[in-house]
């Protein structure tokens, strides 16, 4: 196996060269900027109490309301912009928990090995096998809705995948030359992990983080859609929940239903592209295989001719 040592510069350079990496990063940046500068971008504050007339209910896009109005007359565009904050916040916060848990378990399990590894992997597999949305669903239904709980619940039950990926990487690095050398010199376990192994695992961690964030964002959206989100906050998922339960579908109010979901897809796609780009660098996928058009290798010989098949033995 080749000793793949990642240098920061070469990784960065390769990333810039990756089309999907750049596109993904730009997509994300746009949304993050929107969320950060929400108060300046949104024309209205969706948290402000509003007085509306019946004409404002589920009004289509028009002057002053780029994306129309929702069921109580609020500006949909502003809600979408501010909704970005919650959706992203929960996504990042929950993924932080996932990464911390996943990393710790993955690193320890992969490095220490032996019975601890088996035990940790059993626990990981156990959590993995329990269906996560139903689980989060019942917990929130029983314990009550709130953003803190949502973050915790998403984080606590979505880490196994990351843990496995990191563990696999640690195991493959553990046996390499430079780690053996460090051990021979007498570097402490902690030192080896922190200084030698961790940097090599970093790219895989980044790839996993992006996937974790997208999973967390979609999880929050899913829970909010089912009515389990924080009732005091606006997120993309809760917007779709409101829209759906207030009959936006039958009214054909696409301006209310489409944008929040579109943005969810946008963010997720951006994150997936980034993750793909990182994975391509870390684990370059095969570019060719054995089943191509054979004529390619003969292309320089000129036109193929059929030989008269009148030889003996045919």
């Amino acid at each position: 196996m080749t000793e793949k040592i990642y240098s920061k510069r070469s990784f960065f350079r390769q990333y810039i060269g990756s089309k999907q990496g750049v596109i993904g990063a730009v997509m994300l940046l746009l949304v993050i900027m929107t969320a950060l500068f929400a108060p300046w971008i949104a024309p209205y504050d969706p948290y402000e109490p509003i007085s509306a007339t019946t004409e404002d209910v589920l009004a289509p896009p028009g002057p002053g309301h780029l994306l129309g109005q929702d069921e109580i007359g609020r500006d949909v565009f502003s809600s979408v912009v501010f909704g970005a904050r919650i959706s992203l916040l929960v996504g990042f916060a929950a993924s932080l928990i996932m990464i911390l848990l996943g990393c710790t378990v993955g690193l320890v399990s992969g490095y220490v090995g032996g019975r601890l590894d088996i035990l940790l992997m059993r626990i990981t597999d156990g959590v993995l096998v329990i269906p996560s949305l139903p689980l989060m669903l019942v917990i929130i239904a029983v314990a009550g809705r709130g953003i803190g709980l949502i973050i915790m619940v998403i984080g606590l039950f979505s880490w196994p995948y990351t843990a496995r990926v990191i563990r696999a990487q640690v195991i493959s690095i553990k046996e390499r030359q430079f780690v053996m050398r460090a051990k021979a010199i007498g570097v402490s376990h902690f030192g080896i992990v922190m200084v030698h192994i961790l940097p090599q695992v970093l790219p895989v961690i980044f790839a996993s983080i992006t996937l974790d964030i997208s999973a967390a964002i979609l999880a929050e959206a899913g829970l909010s859609f089912l009515g389990l989100g924080d009732p005091t906050l606006i997120s993309w998922g809760s917007m779709i929940n409101q829209a759906f339960s207030r009959g936006a579908v039958s009214r054909g109010a696409w301006w209310y239903l489409v944008p929040p979901g579109f943005l969810l897809a946008w963010v997720t796609l951006g994150l997936n592209l980034v993750s793909n780009a990182i994975q391509e660098i870390v684990n370059p996928r095969l570019r060719t295989h054995n089943l191509f058009d054979e004529r390619k290798i003969l292309s320089l010989l000129g036109r193929l001719r059929n030989y008269p098949s009148s030889q003996g033995g045919e």
């Binding site: 060719t288 054979e294 290798i297 003969l298 320089l300 010989l301 193929l304 001719r305 030989y307 030889q311």
Partner: protein, 325 residues
């Protein structure tokens, strides 16, 4: 009878990092019931040449020129559908590293069956018997017919591959490094097996190897390659005992002599030329100890040293005459 005739075969690899000329101007013939040994260092182009014969080069490969004539058919100029009929049926190959050449999730028997069915070698009701017979010939017991490749030892897998390669009764069998990764005992068994098969089935065999011991013991003719070109070609006796090309001679020196076991082995310092930046003259010149100034400017032609013995070296002219094509 000449089975296979290769003329002026030139193969390149067109990759993102440049064009590599792996084989240039290769000429040889394979006779029935004869074994040709194709020798050279790693990267000298021997495997590439063989893959080109069967048109199994990777996607970046390009056959630039040449002809490969098998019984009056130029294999390089027939359509794919024709080639598929000829593959395995008339010309088959045992790849280097036969370890992974079998599908791990199918039984070995089923993979031999596939070959038999494809080329209609025997009638349907005879297939199972034929598979057992083939395995028996190579010394694998019939019970292994229903086993999976990972249940075979290295040597057995090699033998199974040979059995499969012979299933459709080809005229030419190519084996690429048949003895690498096998222990010495098994090596001998495999080579002896190939010898027996050759006479029993009137095969022509090409053995690609870097193991001169194997060549010395089992090959009738030898073709030495360097940097993609033929440097010397003749009978085994001529190559081993009367070699003319400096490279061949150095190879022989690097090969332990049983009569002189304490003699120091010499290696050839330096490394093969980069295939994307080949020198204008003789490719071996940088490492050759006896080159003259002409060698680095002129590409040596082909010179006949003796009947059936040719060489590509300017210095050989002093001993032989330029060969007539």
């Amino acid at each position: 009878m000449t089975l296979l005739s290769v003329r002026d075969l030139t193969v390149e690899y067109h990759t993102d990092s440049g064009k590599f000329r792996a084989v240039e101007g290769l000429n040889f013939e394979l006779e029935q019931c004869k074994t040709l040994g194709l020798v050279g260092e790693s990267g000298c182009g021997k495997t590439t040449a063989m893959m080109a014969l069967m048109r199994l080069l990777p996607e970046v490969g390009r056959i630039v020129s040449g002809s490969v004539t098998l019984e009056n058919i130029d294999l390089l100029r027939i359509p794919v559908s024709e080639m598929r009929k000829i593959r395995w049926n008339d010309l088959s190959m045992v790849f280097q590293g036969a370890m992974n050449a079998l599908n791990p999730v199918r039984t070995v028997g089923s993979q031999i069956r596939e070959a038999l069915q494809l080329h209609n070698t025997v009638s349907r009701d005879q297939i199972d018997k034929e598979i057992i017979r083939l395995l028996d010939i190579v010394g694998v017991s019939a019970s292994f017919k229903e086993r999976y490749p990972h249940q075979f030892s290295g040597g057995m897998r090699q033998r199974a591959m040979i059995a499969m390669a012979l299933a459709c009764k080809p005229k030419v069998l190519i084996t690429d490094e048949p003895t690498t990764a096998l222990d010495v005992m098994v090596q001998a068994q495999i080579m002896d097996l190939l010898q027996d098969l050759k006479s029993e089935f009137d095969l022509g065999i090409i053995i690609v190897t870097h193991d001169l011991g194997v060549v010395a013991e089992y090959c009738d003719e030898v073709l030495v390659m360097y940097g993609g070109r033929m440097v010397e070609y003749g009978s085994a006796d001529q190559i081993f005992n009367h070699s003319v090309h400096p490279y061949t001679q150095r190879l022989m020196l690097a090969f332990p002599d049983i009569n002189n076991p304490d003699e120091e082995l010499s290696s050839i310092p330096g490394h093969p030329p980069p295939l994307d930046d080949l020198p204008p003259g003789c490719r071996f010149e940088p490492r050759c100890g006896v080159s003259v100034s002409r060698c680095s400017r002129e590409t040596p032609g082909i010179y006949t040293v003796a009947p059936g013995h040719i060489c590509s070296c300017l210095l050989a002219t002093s001993q032989g005459s330029p060969a007539d094509e």
